[in-house]
Symmetry: C2
Subunit: 182 residues, 2 copies
DNA sequence: GGGACCATGTAAATAGTTACATGATTAA
DNA sequence: TTAATCATGTAACTATTTACATGGTCCC
């Protein structure tokens, strides 16, 4: 874990527009759902440290409703972001408890494993629907910043991978049903 | 992170045969490479704690070469494993730095992003080859324990997902090459 | 006035990696 | 004899989650 990425996710999001910590969290939860996650416990301390090192600038929100703070990227923040973008990508990290269970399931009742698989399948079917809806929305609204295509490319990854999940889980269920009968 | 899974991976592997810590690590690195990982810093302390709580039994290796220790599952270990197998699966965790970079790459030179994508593609192509080779090996050797089919089912997941990665990265490279030319 | 959601934050615990120390065995 | 690999382990560090505290706003 050479370096935490929280820093760069924040920098990246702020490169498009000034945001509050809460908004950053929401965007990650919704838009990055299928390939990233961060918790408040990482975001807020990181925002503080980025402000201290001058990579972002933080000012109370204009409407000044409550303690709400907007954070904006500084020039040095932008150059740190660009440097990171150019660096080689570290290997993705992936952990599927489901596959562990599948691997060890020899003595497990097939019905239980089938249940795990259908839960998996259902939840990814829902995620796929959300992705497709987001895709349609992007197509409808205009593209003033001209970055829809990059975003669509990222969504396309989610679609392809989720379809692979669904394809696999159908296959695995079929296999287990066969095993069950014998 | 309700509970660490290291415990169950170990229990699962020991349910098939007695193993040393080193062997456990190797199996995870090789066979589970595409969906799991553990470090020695997790494995050895966990082996100690599992021994203390009686879920596994540890005895010096027969050949008694050096400090080598074999660990075997106990009856209570087996029942803890079976309980865990039946419990609902927690959501997988997945983190793709590549997609983060893709998402923020609007102002990045296309060539750099293409390089990231080809690195990604190359490494997963190699992984896919390894998976396919392992699959062929399983087909050749016999299946005394009768668990090859479950293992093949898990490998099939890796294949489908890796193919989706390769498919996507080709598409993404094509898109970026188009963007580059304009 | 209550529930949903907006909003910021921290402390403690847990999880996980990395770097190191140590030494045996095997094969070139 | 040297390099690779087998083998066990720990300490320090880093990353991440979880649970909590606090209070505002919006709408029914």
């Amino acid at each position: 874990m050479k370096s935490a990425k929280t820093k760069y996710v924040i920098l990246g999001l702020l490169s498009e527009s000034a945001l509050s910590g809460y908004e950053i969290k929401r965007i990650i939860d919704i838009r990055f759902h299928f390939f990233w996650n961060e918790s408040y416990g990482q975001i807020y301390p990181e925002l503080k440290s980025l402000t201290k090192s001058g990579l972002i600038q933080s000012m109370p929100c204009e409407g000044a409703v409550q303690g709400k703070v907007k954070h904006a990227l500084t020039e040095s923040g932008r150059s740190v972001l660009m440097e990171w973008l150019a660096e080689p990508v570290e290997k993705e990290s992936v952990r599927f408890e489901l596959l562990l269970k599948m691997y060890f399931s020899k003595e497990l009742e097939a019905g239980i494993m089938i249940r795990h698989l259908t839960d998996f399948s259902d939840s990814h079917r829902r995620q796929l629907d959300i992705l497709e809806q987001f895709q349609r929305e992007l197509a409808i609204i205009g593209d003033p910043a001209g970055n829809h295509k990059d975003i669509l490319q990222v969504i396309s990854f989610g679609e392809k991978v989720y379809r692979a999940y669904l394809d696999w889980s159908a296959e695995a269920v079929a296999y287990l049903k066969g095993r069950e009968k014998t």
